[in-house]
Symmetry: C2
Subunit: 233 residues, 2 copies
Amino acid sequence: MVTYSEKQLKPIDEFCPMWEVLTQEERFYLRENTKLQHFRKNEVIYCEGETPKFMMCLVTGKVKIYKDGVGGRSQIIRLIKPVDIFGYRAFFAKEPYLTSASTIESSSAYLVPMQVVEQIIQSNNKLALYFIQSLASDLGVDDARIVSLTQKHVRGRLAESLIMLRDNYGVESDGRTINSHLSREDLANYSNMTTSNAIRTLSNFVSEGVIAVSGRNIQILDEEQLRKISKIG
Amino acid sequence: MVTYSEKQLKPIDEFCPMWEVLTQEERFYLRENTKLQHFRKNEVIYCEGETPKFMMCLVTGKVKIYKDGVGGRSQIIRLIKPVDIFGYRAFFAKEPYLTSASTIESSSAYLVPMQVVEQIIQSNNKLALYFIQSLASDLGVDDARIVSLTQKHVRGRLAESLIMLRDNYGVESDGRTINSHLSREDLANYSNMTTSNAIRTLSNFVSEGVIAVSGRNIQILDEEQLRKISKIG
DNA sequence: GTATTTTTGTGCTGTAAAACATTGTTTTAA
DNA sequence: TTAAAACAATGTTTTACAGCACAAAAATAC
């Protein structure tokens, strides 16, 4: 198997498809101003209240976007996977960061100064439309999430999270194990419940034969049933 | 006092500031393709699942964007006031509507076909940037709302809603009465609680001298205290 | 002006889920 | 290689809130 470090990393404009609409000139400008940065596991990338300066494009690893609420309880808003971009919303809204971002495993990301992004948008309408679509999609996800997190019961919320994790991060070579190894706490913080309840409900799902669990590895055994729980619960 | 119908209504490009960035040609094109439509109280403007065709710009009245969740419970996602635009997100995300929109009082809105909006965006970067900013702001509001609605207690959620209503719709001539007359049910659906709890908590606030209530009129008497309840609760 | 529906107000009950406590297990670090 | 910290598992207690049921008041229709 070839590890990441052995491969020649593509420059940012070839690395993710969103930049395909750029002219050669714009691509060069983007490349010249982008730097690659590595982050250790559980390293904070940016914090709520900071001024947004860079847009990040995740190259390897996994990142959580979260918000600390009442009484130290943290809510994970969304999860980032490689080639996803993040950290640009607050800049466009002309606000300080409203959320924080932290790696959940060792990660690396391309950092693009937001002024550079803004400048290219001003000269390239297709890129502008890409951002419009991206923001509009995220907004739709958030709208749906508001209802799920407030109305569904613990079982339904956890089932939905498991399906999301599978859809977002995919499965390992066995075709079943979710390619994401969140701690019970992160799983709880994503699903708006206590860690105890995430653990409890997970074991219930195991007893019911819906999933199989081994440490942080989770296999979906009965997707049909999991979807049913997500929908009704 | 001059009522709405007696005034000469401005054309859409002069009516809300977002179109100021348009050229004369674009303005004419926009004007030619826009129609004004009236909606009765509690009339549905669009429904979840429908294909988005028009962007709406609210001229008079109030509109709620909501989503029907588990067991008939409805969650109001956001409230629209005149000059606000709505109904465009799903088109940009290339999805069917994920939410529904309904008036909460007699309203009128300019309807602009989304193809027209898209076409102008393609030729006018400033308009594109306006939409980027608008979507980014809404996304920030949603992110914050996810945490408020899931972590705050009933009192905190209701207090937050009252402050939002005041900030969004302003006050009447007495300088105190919130210029919004939602039913207890709508107030509950916005704040993620049952109608009973909205009523109960509202009376508690009255006993505590934080607000005064007369039918659907709500006055904020002690804003300091209301903010405290919103923050801690 | 009366009937009917909708909205509002209040008390009571059951329960889902948080909070807390305890113990075992794995990972990290000294 | 043992101590310490973080994580996982499970049982018990507490509580915030939903879910009724019912009555009164207001809005709307007839």
